[in-house]
Symmetry: C2
Subunit: 331 residues, 2 copies
């Protein structure tokens, strides 16, 4: 068999060989219901509120991807390659999208940072609580505000049906999920947005060529050959959801190649925006690369989230994008 | 330079090349204080309570290792190899060791399961809480008991100084931490116990031969050569804490080689017990392999923890082990 050559062929070969996605039908059904509920709303209003004011009556639907994907090295998986990502960016961005009136499909790595939980202790949330004299659950004074705000904001998003959380672990699950979400969101046309902040593996071991059992260590050093993961952003843009507003991220550790790689990704995959960030400073500064130029976004202070400004700018750009296709819309 | 040949040489070469352990002095100081506090107690009573009764007045100190280690593939780490382990075994075992009167050094992977948090929802603990009418924090009726028990048991262990939690992420941090803990616990002699449930990488990329920046994906498939991690259990047993009671774990996916590999580990590293478990059934059944034979431990029902029986048996064995060296002890 000749190796596949076009991005389409590569993607098709990847999906054919991937282990089947568990709960596909249930996930597809919850996605369809979520999108249908927000479709009318998005089409009527277009774009988000942005800025500091209250959100517009209706905004769009955004798929936020967050956290790293794993690459199993064995079919009965003991070992896997992982990509560094706490999910901080995706979790913070989800909060600001919700604040701007968006409905959010939060496609996240299991166990990564969750919206509204970012400021809570990581290792043992039990550190947050104590029992009062009547054995009622109490939160120490120092944490009361942050815990109460977290609970009420989270409850609001869930109760109003604005947040759909879908977890993944492996690269196989992630890409199958991305396909499910983007084909479900395609009907939103220009009101849909993809904000692909997940750290996606570039290399993987095809399922069929993977060791069945745990690789034994008695045989000396281990040699591994990994294949390239097909560039699915290209397929997303060209087939799955061609009218959506697409934002992807480029993370590098070497500042000398960062912008050039972001510009290449913009052209190659047809993104609307590529957000370039460097590992050493990703919390403090990013560069938004678009076809019309570059915009640097810096956080104002250590107490602020960079994502607040970033999402405000993107919501404005998405609103303009949505208007282009709907000249007849009522405003 | 010739390749190192003895386990000692291999270990020395590994530590020489590893990136320095951050907070080494602070961790060493907290360990020294913890061990000193429990040393007199352990020496006076020896062994634990075990069984169903109340714990003996004084038990030993156990180091529980838990969760998987990572192997960075780049110095400014974006990608790493990880070992599957939720940390469930180590977290549950820690609870039963505490119940048996032990002081526990819980050496755990950051973000893995924590003692007393095992029954709480994984992805968003905010699902556990709601705000009452007076905006007080409430737990839904269905979860009240489990949350209150978790909070009170955890608080008790922390307040009584019986639990020291030390986190790691990489294989470099884990092995440096294991050395720190075991040399600190060496003064406990036979009253010390090591319960090494962490899933430790067998292969790694030596720091010096590691890519400095993120590996680029433009160059086609990726070839990696990984070296074997030195077998530190041998060094632990022979140098760091030679009198301690040592329990290690062997996980395989192939049942045909499991027991034979556990027996080999028992001999090779001089463990007191090797707990053999299979990926498909590790929550339901394990086999304790010792020099005097094999004991199968099965959990009684889905509601029980296998670790309850396992720890009871080990506490009894450790108590016998501790008595051997202290014929003059007062009982």
């Amino acid at each position: 068999m000749d190796p596949p050559t076009s991005p389409d062929d590569e993607a098709a070969a990847f999906f054919r060989a991937a282990p089947p996605f568990r709960d596909r039908d249930a996930v597809a059904a919850s996605l369809a219901a979520f999108v249908a509920r927000h479709r009318a709303r998005a089409a009527a209003g277009g774009g988000g509120g942005g800025g500091g004011g209250p959100p517009a009556a209706a905004a769009g639907v955004v798929c936020v991807t967050s956290g790293g994907t794993t690459v199993p090295l064995e079919q009965r998986c003991v070992r896997y390659i992982d990509n560094f990502s706490s999910g901080q960016r995706g979790a913070a961005s989800t909060e600001y999208f919700l604040k701007a009136g968006y409905a959010v499909v939060f496609v996240h790595r299991r166990g990564s940072k969750q919206p509204y939980c970012r400021f809570l202790p990581e290792d043992s949330f039990l550190d947050l609580f104590e029992l009062g004299e009547g054995s009622e659950i109490q939160v120490p004074e120092s944490h009361t505000t942050v815990v109460k705000t977290a609970i009420s904001s989270y409850r609001k998003a869930i109760d109003e049906g604005l947040l759909l959380k879908l977890p993944f672990t492996t690269i196989f699950e992630y890409l199958q999920l991305l396909q499910l979400v983007s084909t479900a969101m395609n009907c939103l046309e220009r009101h849909g947005m993809f904000y692909c902040a997940a750290a996606v593996s570039d290399f993987y071991v095809p399922w069929e060529s993977m060791a069945k059992h745990k690789i034994q260590s008695a045989g000396g050093p281990l040699n591994m050959q990994l294949s390239q993961v097909p560039k699915m952003l290209f397929i997303l843009r060209n087939q799955w959801a061609p009218s959506a507003f697409c934002v992807s991220f480029k993370l590098e550790t070497d500042p000398d190649i960062l912008i050039q790689k972001a510009e290449a990704a913009l052209r190659k995959y047809g993104m609307n925006v590529v957000v370039a960030n460097e590992l050493a400073s990703y919390k403090d500064v990013v560069v938004m690369v678009t076809s019309s130029g570059k915009t640097t976004v810096s956080r104002r202070s250590k107490e602020d989230d960079l994502e607040e400004q970033l999402i405000a700018l993107l919501v404005k750009m998405h609103s303009d994008h949505a208007k282009q296709s709907n000249p007849e819309q009522e405003t």
